[in-house]
């Protein structure tokens, strides 16, 4: 656990620590008040947390991408109606009701942001990482996508064009990265291991075949 919050650099640690304690105490007071008033089922809170901490995450999206790489008929269905194609894989629901898959090509690289808040395709990627929700990413990726990519260690060919998808409505976007070379004949499980969370947001490329983690 971080003792200082990333956004509180003006605060010294002692001050910040008491600030955090105040927040933690306020949250505890709120929770017990809501339980006492019968507004929430305490067991429901644990289910929400367990779902998004342990059950839903970017391995879901990696399965979708791997299948799109391996199965051209599925890729076509993912192009035509991503919500239905992703549902075939068993991933549906909140913050993924209306999915669109956007496919990287040698000449076009896609990236996803929500400049207004933190919209993100939960059923396939889980909850967003901190940087996705932060002011530096949300402010810059629309105007300086190359600079943001460079911070992630990604350099595209000069000829590549970048398309940034700003999630301003309830449509959620999933980037399908390009399939790495040298993966002919790989099965979907092997391919899925090459698909990182960031590659499905567009801040990374798929992992090269030679760097696959077993």
């Amino acid at each position: 656990m971080h003792e200082n919050d990333d956004h509180d650099h003006d605060h010294d640690h002692d001050h910040d620590h008491s600030h955090l304690d105040d927040t933690a105490l306020r949250v505890r007071a709120l929770e017990s008040l809501l339980v006492e008033k019968g507004y929430i089922d305490p067991a429901a809170l644990d289910v929400f947390i367990d779902t998004y901490e342990n059950k839903v995450g970017p391995r879901n999206g990696a399965q979708v991408v791997a299948r799109a790489w391996a199965d051209s008929a599925f890729r076509q269905r993912l192009t035509d109606d991503a919500s239905a194609a992703i549902a075939e894989c068993g991933f549906t629901g909140r913050q993924g009701e209306h999915m669109v898959a956007v496919f990287n090509t040698p000449s076009v690289h896609n990236m996803v942001v929500c400049t207004l808040c933190s919209c993100y395709p939960w059923p396939v990627l889980g909850l967003p990482p901190s940087w996705y929700k932060s002011a530096p990413y949300r402010s810059r990726v629309v105007v300086d996508p190359c600079g943001v990519l460079a911070e992630f260690g990604v350099t595209l060919p000069d000829s590549a064009e970048i398309t940034v998808w700003d999630s301003t409505a309830e449509v959620r976007y999933l980037v399908v990265p390009e399939r790495p070379s040298g993966t002919d004949g790989w099965d979907e499980a092997q391919l899925a291991a090459l698909v990182s969370r960031d590659s499905m947001i567009g801040t990374a490329l798929a992992t090269p075949a030679g760097e696959a983690q077993p």
Binding site: G38, Y39, I40, D41, L45, F48, T51, T115, A169, V171
Partner: protein, 218 residues
């Protein structure tokens, strides 16, 4: 509203800070705030757009400095206080001082998996035909709404091309005002970087979802 949430194109926030292990929650209390917000959101006491509007209505300096889950916490408390579900005195006391009000529903643990898997689709059967079509050049109207909008400032007044027609979707601006779903056609517009950023443009474009009321023929 032209609040601090509308970050696209702003400068001077520094580099994107990448964590090493990137935990979903930096502090234990953030986990609780996340779950409390989802549980209360599912109660039907307010809708998703009203919760976004509550976060955006927070003081701009607070919004930019508080951190993500402090924003969620402050907005959650605000939404509950506005509806007199809780009071500040109760929060300070950590216990109920006034009788509970009735909620449309209290989400039960056993129902959550099914509810999350079902989600809450926002597409609706259109009452009228779409005014615009694929490939058309449209301008985002210049506007400065006092309330919630999903039109980022950086596209207002700019011309884009309709890249997708998403169908008829619940209109966030109306929902946030508590005026019902008022479904409207939703389009994806492609804006070339030069249209948005002038000489700072890179070899890029931005694609933004816009509802019909915010658009006009270019």
């Amino acid at each position: 509203m032209n609040g601090a949430q509308d970050l696209g194109g702003m400068q001077s926030f520094g580099p994107v800070r990448l964590g090493t292990d990137e935990p979903l929650f930096d502090h234990a209390w953030e986990r609780r705030v996340f779950a409390l917000a989802l549980a209360m959101g599912a109660s039907g006491a307010w809708n998703l757009d009203q919760s976004r509007a509550a976060r955006e209505s927070l003081d701009s300096v607070f919004y930019l400095s508080a951190g993500y889950y402090r924003i969620w916490l402050a907005a959650l408390i605000e939404l509950m206080q506005q509806r007199e579900l809780i009071s500040e005195a109760e929060l300070q006391a950590g216990r109920a001082l006034l009788p509970a009000k009735s909620l449309p529903r209290v989400v039960q643990a056993a129902d959550i998996s099914a509810a999350l898997a079902a989600g809450a689709p926002v597409t609706r059967t259109p009452a009228v035909a779409a005014q615009f079509e694929l490939g058309q050049r449209l301008r985002v109207k210049r506007d400065t709404p006092a309330g919630h909008t999903r039109v980022p400032r950086y596209v207002r007044g700019c011309v884009g091309t309709v890249a997708r027609v998403h169908g008829c979707h619940v209109y966030a601006d109306s929902q946030a005002r508590g005026e019902g779903e008022n479904p409207q056609w939703l389009y994806n517009l492609r804006f070339e970087a030069a249209e948005l950023w002038g000489d700072a443009a890179q070899n890029s474009s931005v694609q933004v979802d816009c509802w019909e009321p915010s658009l006009e023929r270019a």
